[in-house]
Structure formats: structure tokens, C-alpha cells
Amino acid sequence: MNTDRLIDLLSVDPQPVETGQLGKLLLMAMVTGGAVAVLLMLATVGARPDLQSTSHLEWLAVKLLFALSVIVSALPLLNGSIRPGSKNERYRRLVFLPFLVAIALALAMLLFSQPLAREPMLRGATKLSSARCLISIMFFAAVPLASVFWAVRKGASTRLKLSGGVAGLVAGAIGAAAYAFSCTSDTLPFVALWYGMAIALCAAIGAQLGPRILRW
């Protein structure tokens, strides 16, 4: 085929294009994925039984704050990575900030507590808390991962691993936010370790899937 012919083909009557849609799409995908994750949480592990009383609300707030700060700090990078040629190096460090803050606070808490109290802080409410946390968060993150990937595919990522990884990170944080309503392990070291690990695993999975799924 002659390239000039292709140019004619493409440029007859081009439709006006709105360029602000991509961000909205991303937001929509996250909200939809988050809603499904919360419904899944209610249908499977259920909300924590003492959610009615106000006594543990501050812990729910802490967990939600962590998950939301991960999402907010990753959004500039995700939004930039799906637009070719955008400079997003400076957003990369921002992604690690919530994790560093959470880990630093957790270490400080462990350091200033009784040696005997340290292990239960990391273990959570019961022996199985950590496994329940990891599995639930990754399970709840599956639908957000699919929906965020769908939105990323509407863009044009030229760095598939990066976009996939950040999409996984955001999906993992959405899964963590959903799980926060169910989690009864109310210690900061637990949140930093197990929530952080679950979200990081989701990011690793996203980075692995990215080059396969996001190609265009």
C-alpha cells in the first residue's frame, strides 16, 4: 500500500477529539472496581462485627488512610505513563512515600514497645490474620486490576511494565481499602507489613502482566 493513500484514508473528515477523557476513564474504572471489591468483601469475609460501635473506627480510618494515600500517590505516575512522551520521572519517588512513612511509623512503634508485645503486633488479631489479609486483599484486587487495566489500554502506554506495575499497585490499594472494613488486626506494624506486602505483590503481578496485556 502506498503511504500517501493511507494518509488520505486517515485524514478524510477527522472527528474532533476530546483529550481530557482518559483521566475520567481511569477514575471511573477505579470507582467501579472499588465498588465490586467492597461487594465481594461483604459477600465473602464480611465487615468486622464491631463496625457499628465507634470504638475501633480510628483503626478503620488508619487503614483506609494508608490505602488511599497509596492510590493518590500512584495516580500521577499512572496517568502520565499512559500518555506517550510525558515526563513522569519525578512522580516515581512519590509512589514509595506512603510505604516509607508507614514502615517508619511501624518500626518506631515496635522499637518503643515491650519486646514481648512486638510479635503479636506483627501477627495481628489471630494466628491466621496475616494469611487472611494477604489472600483477601489480592482476591479483592482482582476486579479493580481488570478494570484499571481496561482503562490503561484505552491510553497508549509506551512503558508496559511500569504501567502494569502501577496499575497493580492501585488495584492492590483498592483491594486493601475494601479489606480494611473486615480486618480486626488493629496495629500499625500489622498494616505496614501485611497490607504493604499484599499491595506490593499486586504491583509485581501487574508488572508481569503489563507487557502481555497492555501491548498495542
Binding site: 503511504t3 494518509i7 485524514s11 483529550t19 506517550p84 491510553g155
Partner: protein, 235 residues
């Protein structure tokens, strides 16, 4: 202790605010006339002309194209074709591939530009955008054809670089054959709108479809065509 805590909180908040503002306050697309475009470019910090000698002209063309101006779009694609052809011939010569393959990839990039032009942010410079796409498509080509810079015989490199960069080459892709592989509905609307130059409304009347259905069909058809071109260049 307390004031420093307050300061760092304010610092974090300002970082977050800035990041959110950058990410989400992308300018809303609206119809602009040429003078507005000129004004807008004048307001931006000047792009380094030495590194991007055609940035300002190409960007103005792109913005007009996004607003639906056909002649600007035609001019943009024609000019980019020249740049991209030189870009790819140079790189393909180094991996021992000929100008026909370069032309295939160039056409793939033109279609990619067309299908992904909504990812261009009008407030950003244009050349990094198209360069990132061109580079991505080149790396993608290397990956899917399993080429590498290593297995290139040096003799053929010199042979190939002797070729002129300006002369157009027919790509190995046969439009009629490619068209035969996409759905008949998409083929018909592309035939009407893109090849025979009918307006969307005329094509809609002739196909017995609504105008918006024609637009969707053309869009999908071009996507399918892009996919076919990719499939072809895999072999």
C-alpha cells in the same frame, strides 16, 4: 518538635495538591480557532528549537487536527511521514531490514497515531509524544520479529544506508487484501467515507445506518485494519 511536624505536614499537603492538580487538571477539549491556537502556543514557554526544530509547527497542526481540521491533519501526517521514514530507514538499516519493512512500520505508526490521538495532552509538547510512539513501535517490532542488533551483517548495513530517505516505497501491505479481512460492515463504511470521500451523513444514508453508528464503524474498522497490519508485519 511541634512546629517542625506542622511544617512537614504542610509540605506533604503541598506535594499532594500539586500532584493532583498536575494529574487531573488536564485542559478540557473545546473547539478553538486558529488565533486561539496561536495565542496558546505563544503563552507556553518556548520549546528548544535546536532539539525540536519543527515542534511549534507540528504542534499547531496537531491541535488543529484534534479540533477536526482535515487539511491540517493531512499536512501533519504528510510531514510526520517524512520524519518517520528517515527515522525508521536509519534504524532498520542497522538491523539489516529493508525499506519495505520500514514503510510497513511507518504505516503502523500513522494508524497508531490516528487511533491514539486522544492520548496527546494539548498542554504538552508534541514531538516527545510522537517520538515516544515511534520508539515504542520500533521496540515492539524488534520484539515481535525477534530481531536484535547483534545478528546484523555489517556489509548489508552499508548497502542499505545508501538508499535515499525521501523516496516513498510501497509497503508490503496490500490494502484490498487487508480490507477483505475486516468485517463487511466496517469495510463498506471505510470504502464510502475514507476511500470515496463521502461525508459521514451521506455514508449513513447509503448504508441505512445512523451517523453515529457510521462513526463507530469507521473507528472500529481502522482499529481492525491496524491489527491486520500488525499481524502481517509479524511474519
Amino acid at each position: 518538635m511541634r512546629p517542625s511536624g506542622k511544617n512537614s505536614l504542610a509540605f506533604l499537603r503541598s506535594i499532594a495538591n500539586k500532584a493532583i492538580a498536575r494529574a487531573w487538571m488536564a485542559p478540557v477539549a473545546e473547539a478553538r480557532d486558529a488565533s486561539q491556537i496561536g495565542l496558546e502556543i505563544a503563552k507556553r514557554p518556548p520549546v528548544d528549537e535546536a532539539t525540536h526544530p519543527h515542534e511549534n509547527e507540528l504542534r499547531a497542526l496537531m491541535i488543529a487536527s484534534l479540533d477536526g481540521d482535515a487539511s491540517s491533519y493531512h499536512a501533519l501526517l504528510t510531514r510526520l511521514t517524512g520524519h518517520l521514514r528517515a527515522y525508521y530507514r536509519h534504524r532498520f538499516a542497522r538491523i539489516g531490514h529493508g525499506p519495505t519493512e520500514a514503510e510497513d512500520l511507518l504505516q503502523e505508526v500513522l494508524i497508531a497515531l490516528h487511533n491514539h490521538r486522544h492520548t496527546y495532552d494539548r498542554s504538552q509538547p508534541f514531538t516527545p509524544w510522537i517520538h515516544a510512539i515511534a520508539r515504542y513501535k520500533f521496540l515492539d517490532y524488534l520484539r515481535r520479529t525477534k530481531s536484535s542488533f547483534k545478528d546484523v551483517p555489517t556489509a548489508s548495513v552499508e548497502e542499505l544506508t545508501a538508499e535515499s530517505d525521501i523516496r516513498a516505497v510501497e509497503s508490503g501491505l496490500d490494502l484490498q487484501r487487508l480490507m477483505s479481512k475486516i468485517s463487511s460492515k466496517a469495510r463498506r463504511v471505510i470504502q464510502f467515507v475514507k476511500l470515496e470521500g463521502l461525508s459521514m451523513r451521506e455514508a449513513a444514508a447509503r448504508c441505512g445506518m445512523s451517523e453515529s453508528a457510521v462513526k463507530v464503524a469507521v473507528h472500529r474498522g481502522l482499529k481492525a485494519l491496524a491489527l491486520q497490519i500488525r499481524e502481517e508485519s509479524k511474519v
